[in-house]
Symmetry: C2
Subunit: 332 residues, 2 copies
């Protein structure tokens, strides 16, 4: 059973995935993942994944058969297990609990060579609905507190399979970065009685030099203090803490907007590997006045100097104003 353990000093939870325990010789030291010709995510190979959790199909096809356009399956090598109790226990100064949670894969398209920036926006919209539907469903599990949705695109960004997919990890804890945002945003709200993200959006629209794009409902900006070059945030203009509570037309609008942003990134940075992460409110809190859901997109452009990990201190060689200018002016 995987274990969740808490750092007693800074309070960060990590997963110790003991069942896939790696011996020293099994680490790859940066060697490329060997590519097999076979893809378990392609249509016709539905029996090569664990049974599907959700799929959108054109017709009334049976589960685990073809005809789907988006398909969600359990991760074959899950970092967390769905079955069991949390069993939160102390051990001297330490805290741990069972690694209970869900680890799912969203297969974003049947086409093996498709990418989020190449698929039709109608297909992109389906993926956003999938995220929403999975959050709604995972919310029912009383043991869970957060649904983390993210994508690793390209080998350098951590993808181990080529076929376009994103991941969902549902956790009995709140990830550290999100809880830091919640604490910071709450402090600001206590002081100002305004959402800090709403204030940021207002200021960004006024100053305009960090705006990448804008439509009626969404804005994309390069954050004022980015941890990596060409980092982009996509935020809804109207206050909303929970991604899953968006109005129906927002998903449609977002799919067009998000696709445009990825195309700009491809244009300016020559199809970079990237990660994105959905930051949304924890599932048990209901709607929050002080939090504001958003996507954070980080193209993977620099060699990671590990000292950033250990210090939480980042050196960024490109200003967000310059990055925004390139992205804004890209012809797509």
């Amino acid at each position: 059973m995987p274990e969740l353990r808490k750092d007693p000093i800074i309070g960060r939870w990590v997963i110790i995935s003991t069942e896939r325990g790696k011996r020293p010789s099994e680490f790859e030291k940066g060697r490329p993942v060997p590519k097999s010709g076979f893809c378990p995510f392609c249509p016709g190979h539905e029996d090569k994944t664990p049974p599907e959790i959700l799929a959108y199909r054109k017709d009334d096809g049976k589960p685990d058969t073809g005809g789907w356009h988006v398909r969600v399956v359990p991760n074959k090598y899950p970092a967390l297990k769905v079955e069991g109790d949390l069993d939160r226990v102390g051990d001297g100064v330490y805290d741990r609990m069972n690694g209970i949670g869900a680890h799912e894969v969203v297969i974003e398209s049947p086409g093996h060579k498709d990418s989020l920036s190449s698929i039709p926006t109608s297909q992109f919209e389906e993926i956003l609905w999938t995220y929403r539907d999975r959050i709604i469903d995972l919310k029912k599990d009383e043991r869970l507190r957060y649904v983390l949705i993210f994508k690793n695109h390209g080998e350098a960004a951590g993808a181990t399979l080529e076929h376009s997919h994103s991941q969902i990890i549902a956790l009995p804890i709140i990830p550290k970065r999100v809880s830091e945002e919640l604490v910071g945003a709450q402090a600001y709200y206590n002081y100002k009685e305004r959402c800090i993200f709403c204030d940021i959006i207002r200021q960004e629209i006024m100053q305009s030099n960090r705006v990448v794009a804008e439509n009626a409902d969404f804005i994309a900006v390069t954050p004022y203090a980015p941890k990596s070059p060409f980092e982009i945030w996509i935020l809804p203009k109207e206050h909303e803490s929970n991604f899953e509570n968006c109005q129906k037309h927002h998903y449609e609008n977002l799919s067009v907007f998000f696709s445009d942003i990825l195309k700009r990134m491809d244009k300016v940075l020559d199809f970079p590997p990237y990660n994105f992460i959905l930051h949304t409110a924890p599932i048990k809190n209901g709607s929050l006045n002080h939090y504001h859901w958003h996507f954070e997109i980080m193209p993977k452009l620099t060699r990671v100097a590990g000292f950033e990990w250990g210090s939480g201190f980042y050196i960024n060689p490109t200003s967000p104003e310059e990055a925004a200018k390139f992205l804004r002016e890209a012809k797509v």
Copy 2:
């Protein structure tokens, strides 16, 4: 002038190093750094670095000539500038200040092919004294609050020059990870009136399964909730918040101990790239009852999936107990 900018939500400061502002085409996308045959850190090339700040020499040689065994020079491409005022200003919801600080390189040995695990421990001790002397000197600058000392070893860990070196960044802010540790350790101290690191050391000695090695003054453990596999912390057994306040014999003892730990890592993990970071108290606080200096060593074994950056959530495929066992049993 580089700029320090604060994320208004989570309070993390980052450097925007505008003067070496990178255009989109200048990022390397994971391509290896081109190796030139020429090394500016080798003896005889002293004029190829900025004038030295400090050097230990056997004889009374002149600055910027040969005969040194450890040499400290300003970084040729510094992330921060020494000259100027902080000029801390607000801009709506945002905060920024001038990127004032020092960015130095410690050339650890004259030998181009030397590494920390191959040099004599007497040479290693010199490097530790160098760290100490630089902290003492940088403390005098009223504008600065923290001296961050770290090493990137190997290209995959962010080193851009092969010749063994570490880096010193002196900052007008406290890096986020360190301030998190300070806050967490202070909370524990308020509650228990004991240093949490001292309690951790006591428990680790008792439980023994995460201990890598121990001598009279130091202990090396794999932390209970590591963010990466085979992460190792080296801590002084006796309470001390400031690295620069060690007793003289501690540096000697530490050089032997640290060298042994790196040899174990080389043996078990086949000479991995790694990073280490010195965590020590901020320079203006004096001695702290609740903080405890230590080194954190992180071999770079896994492809970094960028989602960890954006979520602060880590999945570790090796338990620290297993890692400690391998390291403890390594024959060196």
